[in-house]
Amino acid sequence: MFSLGSEHDKKKQSDDNMLPVINMTFLLLLFFIVVGNFSETYMKDVAPPESSSEVLTQQAEELALTADGKLWWRGETTTLSNWASQMQAEGQPVPVRVSLRADGQTPASTIIPLIDELRLLKVTRVALVTVNKSGTL
């Protein structure tokens, strides 16, 4: 009886010792949930160019372009004409300002025809998504 009791006490004690660890872990977990932002899988293939721009990205319809020339919108590959018709099907006009998350290594021969197509869709301004030169922040 005595030995059983002491074992129970020991177990209770070891669990009590874990409480600060669990607390810390919960805090870390909360931090990552609140502060971090999820990136979609295809975004990992897109490494935006570096710039010294201080302007943070603004809310705009975002298209992503991988270095091999694939265009992504809302997690799916698409073409600009499909994108425009889908926007119109949703009852939204094609925006005049588009945010383009293109890979830094995308050649001009891919970007420029895309800009020309955007012009035909009456898009007047393109905002290239970039990362800060010094790193990620």
Binding site: N37, Q58, G104, T106, V126, V131
Partner: protein, 133 residues
């Protein structure tokens, strides 16, 4: 009173280890999946048909961009690093429209670097075109 303390004891006996395991797994998942990158943007105007043809040629500066950051401006060749001193020397009007004419294989990174340098010299009106246009 007795019942209550008995109940508390029963609760105490539930091991916290599986909970800790689960929370650790969730933590690792969130660490791997989240990113803290804050993105910036460099905006430019989409060239309209008029600008692409002849208009504003007099008021605009055309810069040809080649791979490796080589530039060709006004009949002279220069590296990307020499652009800033050249712009400072020329003292262009801030209203000047700058047309970057990129050769096919020029990566976007080079164009963004050129746009950065132009913006630093208060020349925000930048357009991108293909070299042949």
């Amino acid at each position: 009173m007795h019942l209550q303390s008995h109940h508390r004891k029963a609760l105490r006996r539930i091991s916290l280890t599986p909970l800790a395991d689960l929370v650790f797994i969730l933590l690792v998942f969130f660490i791997l999946e989240t990113s803290f990158a804050q993105f910036r943007e460099v905006a430019f105007k989409v060239p309209d048909e008029l600008a692409k043809s002849s208009h504003a040629e007099s008021k605009s500066l055309s810069i040809q961009v080649f791979p490796g950051g080589k530039l060709w401006i006004d009949g002279q060749s220069m590296a990307l690093a020499e652009l800033t001193p050249w712009l400072v020397r020329e003292q262009l009007n801030t209203e000047t429209a700058v047309i970057l004419k990129a050769e096919d294989s020029v990566p976007l990174q080079t164009l963004v670097e050129a746009m950065d340098l132009l913006r630093a010299q208060s020349l925000p009106r930048v357009q991108i075109q293909a070299l042949g246009d």
